[in-house]
């Protein structure tokens, strides 16, 4: 008897039923099979389907279609840029699995459109926010010439499972079985996928073909290594500087402007630093990493009043450095220099950006901005009716922020991703040069933070 392994979909798993039982012997030891005596077979993560198929060869007998073909013929009218073509070729060479890294504004969506056109399979696109849900829906319909009824979204109260479906990470993690219908999985902002709550999305998806898109796949927790398994290895990367040189994104300058604390700010800053260091010295502690800080300061602050005082001193010192009054004056000067240009201002602290907005009568978007106001401001900024917009971290990613030619980073964290994302907001091709100003308070901890965010992961 020719050995055969029947492969079914059962719940969130694959069920492998070998005939005879030895037929499974072809599978590698690390295939992660779990015996299910109730169903008389072996369970495996759908993620592993390609490996299982490869190992079993003709013995694999599928009882579902993991590669459903699109019921319409896509037509891509827009010619790809050379690097987009290269990205697609690299991804195809890797067997249709992998992560493409391109800066914001470089046309990652079009790479996905080309991949869908090449495979012509049912495709699901994972996105982190509701804004991107609508954005991707429009991009797929337009980019592939797809009839409206072929494109659906799941999330934000919608539940349309269509041959081309855009779904939020949140919805997908709640309903992973929805992902059994698709041959291609596209993960936008793929750096989210390794998060504990989202890994199961990639594990439960049957899709043999997977494409991750990100400008900044690296995660501070090192979780990006998991992308190799969940989506495939990084197959293509272009840095902003490279694309700027070839003119596919706007040429840009980064300028770091140093400002000083006022005397009163300096005194308060010094006092807070002394309190913080005093705690470390009194307790004989050394904080070298973020993990040290969390363990030795943050967690201890719950029950140790001195640790709490140190924590508050650390927060206050940081707030003073990041929100130095002279930064606001510098912003005003920069706005005057770029009067009439489209300017985005980013801040780490909402209070600073709100103060700036109040002082200069600027539109501001922070987490507490009412949705209708947020929509109106973004629309008017996009239409050119507003030329300056200030925001906190809420617009860092996942929101279709209109392009600008000037970015002012009032303050920011030490993460490279945030920096790249903010830079990306001014990189769409345009006449003239884009410029990013970074305001840094000298003789504080801020210059070190600013340097850290410019370093590639692994250097710091």
């Amino acid at each position: 008897m020719t050995p055969v392994v029947d492969i079914h979909l059962r719940g969130n798993d694959l069920l492998l039923v070998p005939h005879p039982p030895e037929a499974l012997g072809a599978l590698p030891a690390g295939a992660g099979l779990r015996h299910d005596p109730r169903l008389g077979g072996w369970r495996a993560l759908p993620l592993l389907l390609p490996e299982i198929e490869r190992a079993l060869g003709p013995a694999a007998r599928l009882h579902f279609d993991p590669r459903p073909v699109l019921p319409f013929l896509p037509t891509v009218s827009r010619a790809p840029r050379p690097y987009q073509r290269e990205a697609l070729a690299a991804w195809q060479s890797a067997g249709g699995r992998g992560v493409v890294v391109l800066p914001t504004g470089a046309g990652k969506t079009h790479v996905a459109v080309m991949a869908i056109n090449a495979l012509r399979l049912w495709t699901v696109v994972l996105v982190p926010t509701l804004d991107l849900l609508a954005q991707w829906r429009a991009a797929l319909a337009e980019g592939l010439g797809a009839p409206p009824e072929m494109v659906g979204v799941v999330g934000g109260g919608e539940r349309e499972l269509r041959p081309l479906t855009v779904i939020t990470y949140e919805s997908a993690s709640r309903h992973p079985r929805l992902l059994t219908h698709f041959g291609l999985l596209v993960a936008d902002e793929a750096h989210h996928l390794p998060a504990a709550g989202y890994r199961r999305i990639a594990e439960a998806a049957v899709a043999p073909y997977r494409l991750g898109l990100s400008a900044t796949p690296e995660r501070a927790d090192g979780g990006h290594a998991a992308l190799d398994v969940l989506l495939g290895p990084e197959v293509f990367r272009r840095e902003p500087e490279e694309l700027a040189r070839t003119g596919y994104i706007a040429p840009y300058r980064e300028r770091r402007l140093r400002v000083a604390l006022s005397d009163a700010e300096r005194a308060a800053y010094t006092e807070h630093v002394r309190t913080y260091r005093g705690y470390l010295a009194a307790r004989g502690l050394q904080v070298r990493t973020a993990e040290d800080f969390e363990r030795l300061v943050l967690r201890r602050s719950g029950g140790d009043p001195m640790a709490y005082a140190a924590l508050r001193a650390h927060q206050e010192a940081r707030r003073i450095a990041f929100g130095a009054g002279s930064k606001l004056e510098t912003v005003e000067q920069l706005l005057e220099r770029h009067r009439g240009e489209r300017v985005l201002i980013f801040s780490e602290y909402n209070a600073a950006v709100e103060e700036l907005g109040r002082r200069l009568c600027l539109p501001v978007i922070v987490h507490s901005t009412p949705p209708a106001e947020r929509r109106a401001v973004l629309e008017r900024f996009r239409a050119g009716a507003y030329t300056v917009l200030a925001t906190g971290r809420v617009l860092n990613e996942g929101v279709d922020v209109p392009d600008a030619s000037v970015a002012i980073v009032l303050s920011g964290s030490g993460t490279r991703r945030e920096y790249i994302q903010r830079l990306g907001r001014i990189l769409r091709p345009k006449a003239g040069e884009a410029v990013l100003y970074e305001l840094v308070t000298r003789d504080t901890a801020e210059p070190r933070v600013a340097s850290r965010r410019r370093q590639p992961v692994g250097v710091r």
Binding site: G11, R177, G302, C361, P363, P370, A376
Partner: protein, 608 residues
Amino acid sequence: MATLSMADIRWRARRDPGGGPPIFSVMFLTEHDRRATAAAAGVRDYLAGLAGRRRAEYDPDVVVAIAGERRLGHGLAAGCFDFYAWTARTLAEELGEERARHLTDAGIDTPSGLRLRLFDQVNQHDGGYVPSGRRDEALARLARSLGLAGEDGPALDAALRLDAEEEALLAPPETAPSVVEVLARYNRAALATVLRQSERIVFTLHQPAGGTIRRLYAWCRRLGVYADIERAGLETDVLRLTLAGPDAVSAAPASTGPRLALVALRLLRALGTHDTAAAHLHVNERPYRLLLTRVLLDVPGLALTARDRDIDSPAYDSQVEEALAAAFAALQRQGRAAGWRLVREPAPLLAGRRVIIPDFALDRGGLRVYLEIAGFWTPGYLAKKRAALAQLPADTRLIIAVPDGSLPAFADLPFPLVAYREAMAPQPVLDAAARFDALAARTAGGAERLRAACAASAGWLALRELGPLLGCYTDGEVAQALAAAPPPPGWQDIPGAGLCSTALRNRLSTALSVHWQEAGEGARLTLAGVRALGVSPLPETDEALLALLATLPACRLAHESLFEPAVLPRESAVSEPADRLQRPVEVAATPPPRSRPRRTTARAPALF
């Protein structure tokens, strides 16, 4: 409910002597803890002193200083904020009615609208921003554009940020909370926060009553907590009820902790002496076990409150079930339930180690048919439910009611399906249930029982007596049964009324004839008059009596009134020879085609 983060919870862990994950315990606050009660009073009094003040004036460091540590301070403040609330002022409150009316006339009724108007003006006139030295001018221009005076600019400045968090005012409760109330709110929030970290909560129940399990299960589902029940082993009565953690709860993340806490506390109340419960947690990426015991119920805030108890005894776990039960009760009141009785909380069914608690059972004459309602579930839950149902033996008397769109998912199961859209009608369910209760089997032997009953009867067997005799539950079934097994000789079927002996018919005919001979042919009889003739037994109901009279050749019924027909001699009948009247009426071997008696003023009674 107050919300806390894990960093605000006081907890500790100890080694599990059994070698499992460390045992996690929350340090709940009680009125015997002097430090906690003093801190609670201090925090409450601090907030009371801030009543009517801006949020910007609230200093969390003060709270920490009062409590002596951050966790306790933040936790107690969260407990207090269940009573004190930040509220935003309106434009009218800030600007006064007159100025606010100007804004309304300009189409502005929120600070957000006012801001957008300012931004529009600044972008039209100032190139996107206003240099800080010219800010007052911009505000004065805004005021003038709204029909106010330029001097109103500063007032508008305040109105522009009226909805900012720090501008909200602290509204106190009507009565300040007691210290114990504050501790209670903290404790409940702490338990909810900890349970929000749980992967699962497992209750091990020794020999629980089926009804108890059913109620607990319904309760979990009502609160949107996914629950699974299985036997601990194939040869044991120990059941394991597992509540899935927040990942599987179909609700906003913020509400999952309170829901899990509520369900867990409710389940704790039902624990027997030997029962155990534990939540499996992950805190700071390390696994822990939180043992849940009835001792928790003595902690302030963890005994269920009156508000909790409102949902403590859920009538039904979904509107679909509630509507079905109501519709079924109406059917029963109308006597159209065909003998079925709707039972909630039937005994659980076993499917391997899985335990399935159907939503309802339908009982009739010793037969039980289960009804499982597949609600509008998440695909994951639907799949689990389907897999569990597939484990049941194929001969289980089970009906599955399924939302229209989910029919295909259940189509291959060996149980009848009843589709529904939003509400479920009971009749299709009853029709499906009747398929498990074949008429032929029920009526077997009915002819013998009928013969014996006729022999023992004085001449009249009402329809309601015939049903049980023949094993029938509806008029239609009685008709079918009588068609298959006709009444014994000397008895006639009076359709829709009962069986009448020839002797009784003759006695009634004779009595009527005698009455008319004596009273004259024009004399009308009411039904009461007929009953007064002294013939016995007559049908108990007027409808049945009318049906019987309608079959007598001696009389006719005249419907001259809306209320009751008159009984008159049939003209031809009174001239019939007396011997004809006295001769027994032959009953045909094959009954005549059945037709329901003409409806009079009232509807013919149903069987039950």
